[in-house]
C-alpha cells in the first residue's frame, strides 16, 4: 500500500496534469486516465478498528459548528469531543445522501445525446462516487450506529429541462467544493483519529478530479444557457444557486446532532449559530472557492457569508 507521502506526491502530479489540459475533451481524457491509474479497492484500503477513541476530537476543532461562539467556552473537553463525533457523522451522512442524489443525476444523462464527450468519464465518476458513499456510510454505521436521514423534500423549481440539468451539475459542484474544504482541513489535522484523516484524504484526492470536471462542465453548460435565455433568467438561476449554497451550509447545523450531543435546545442553538457573526466569517472562508467560481460565471454577485434565510 502506498504511503501518505507517496500518495501526496502522486496527487501533486495529478493536479499538474489537470491544470495543463486546455480543452474539455483533453481534460476528460486525462481525468479518465488518472482514474484508472489511481483506482483502489475501498474494501481493502481502510482498516476499521473495533472502536475509535472517545477522548479526542473526530472533527477538527475549527470546523465545529460552534467554533468562535460562546458555546465553545461553555463546553467541557468531553462535551466537545462528543459533539465532534456527531458532527462528523452528520457530515458523512449528508455526503452519503448527496452522493446518492448526484449519482442519480449522472445516471439519468450518462448516455443521452449531448453528453457524448463526458460519458466515458462519467463511468469513472460513478465508480468513485459509489466507493465514497460506501466508506462514508460504513463509518456512520460502525461508529455512529446510524446514518442521519436526509430532511430534503425534493421537487423541481424550474420547469425547463436544460435548466434542471444545469442546476443538477452546479449543485454537485457546490456540494463537492464545500465538502472539499472540510476534507482538506481534516486530512491534515493530526489530532484526529488516523481513519478519519485517511477517509478525508482519499475523498479529497478523488474529488480533485471531479471538481476539475465539474467546473468545466458547469461553465460549458452556462454558456449554452446564456445563448438561449434572457439575462433575467440567468439572474434567477444565479439567485437559486446562491440560495442552494446557503441551504447546503445549513446542513452542518443539524438539530439532530445537537440533540445527540446532549444539548437541550437543539433548534434554538441552530438559530443562534446561523446568526452568529463568527460563523459568518467562517462561512465566507469555507465558501471562498465556490463564491469566486460562480462569480466568474456571472451567477453570484459578491461573497456569501450569511446563510440564514
Amino acid at each position: 500500500m502506498e504511503t501518505a507521502t507517496t500518495a501526496g506526491m502522486l496527487f501533486q502530479e495529478d493536479k499538474r496534469i489537470m491544470r495543463e489540459q486546455t480543452s474539455i475533451v483533453d481534460l476528460l481524457r486525462s481525468l479518465s486516465d488518472l482514474s484508472v491509474e489511481r483506482a483502489y479497492d475501498p474494501y481493502r484500503t481502510f482498516e476499521w478498528p473495533e472502536s475509535l477513541p472517545d477522548n479526542c476530537l473526530w472533527m477538527s476543532r475549527d470546523l465545529l459548528s460552534i467554533d468562535g461562539t460562546h458555546y465553545m467556552d461553555e463546553l467541557s473537553e468531553e462535551e466537545l469531543c462528543r459533539l465532534s463525533r456527531w458532527e462528523l457523522v452528520n457530515f458523512f451522512s449528508f455526503n452519503v445522501h448527496g452522493i446518492r442524489e448526484l449519482m442519480q443525476q449522472v445516471l439519468a444523462c450518462i448516455h443521452n445525446t449531448g453528453y457524448e464527450i463526458t460519458s466515458e468519464y462519467f463511468h469513472h465518476f460513478l465508480d468513485e462516487e459509489n466507493k465514497h458513499m460506501w466508506f462514508f456510510a460504513e463509518f456512520c454505521k460502525r461508529y455512529g450506529g446510524k446514518i442521519y436521514f436526509t430532511q430534503k423534500v425534493q421537487f423541481p423549481t424550474f420547469a425547463e429541462e436544460d435548466i434542471q440539468s444545469f442546476l443538477a451539475f452546479a449543485k454537485i459542484l457546490i456540494s463537492e467544493q464545500i465538502s472539499d474544504f472540510y476534507n482538506v482541513r481534516m486530512m491534515n489535522d493530526d489530532t484526529l483519529p488516523p481513519l478519519v484523516r485517511k477517509i478525508n484524504r482519499v475523498h479529497h484526492e478523488d474529488e480533485s478530479r471531479h471538481l476539475a470536471m465539474g467546473r468545466r462542465v458547469v461553465a460549458s453548460m452556462r454558456e449554452e444557457l446564456a445563448k438561449k435565455y434572457q439575462p433575467e433568467m440567468l439572474q434567477k438561476i444565479g439567485d437559486y444557486l446562491r440560495r442552494y449554497t446557503e441551504f447546503f451550509v445549513q446542513s452542518f447545523y443539524n438539530p439532530g446532532t445537537y440533540r445527540d450531543a446532549g444539548f437541550s435546545e437543539p433548534y434554538e442553538i441552530r438559530r443562534v449559530l446561523l446568526q452568529h457573526p463568527s460563523r459568518k466569517t467562517f462561512h465566507a472562508r469555507a465558501l471562498g472557492k465556490t463564491s469566486r467560481f460562480f462569480e466568474s460565471q456571472g451567477l453570484f454577485a459578491g461573497e456569501i457569508s450569511n446563510v440564514c434565510n
Binding site: F149, T150, Q151, K152, V153, Q154, F155, P156, T157, Y240, R243, Y244, F247, Q250, S251, P255, G256, Y267, R270, N309
Partner: protein
C-alpha cells in the same frame, strides 16, 4: 388519513405555519387553508428543510423519515392533519 372537522383545527398552529411561510416571501401572497403551497410557489424545495424543522419544533417531536415527502406538505390543512392531529 381522513380530513378532520373544522372545529378540530388548531388555529394557533395554522397561524404559526402561515406566518412562517409568509416570512420567507418578499411580496405579499394569499395563503388559505387549502392553498397548494408547492404549486403556488409559496414554498420551494430549498425552504422545506427549515420549514420542516420549524414544524418539528412547534410539535415538539421529530418528523419521521417516512413523512418527509412532498405530498405531506401541500397545504396548511394537509400539514395540520399530518403533523398536528391530536
Amino acid at each position: 388519513m381522513s380530513a378532520i372537522n373544522e372545529s378540530d383545527l388548531d388555529l394557533t398552529t395554522i397561524a404559526k405555519l402561515r406566518d412562517w411561510v409568509l416570512s420567507t416571501k418578499q411580496q405579499t401572497i394569499e395563503i388559505g387553508l387549502e392553498t397548494d403551497l408547492i404549486k403556488e410557489g409559496a414554498l420551494d424545495s430549498l425552504e422545506m428543510v427549515n420549514f420542516l424543522l420549524f414544524i418539528e419544533e412547534i410539535r415538539g417531536q421529530e418528523i419521521p423519515e417516512a413523512l418527509i415527502q412532498p405530498e405531506f406538505f401541500t397545504s396548511l390543512r394537509v400539514i395540520h392533519d399530518t403533523f398536528f392531529r391530536p
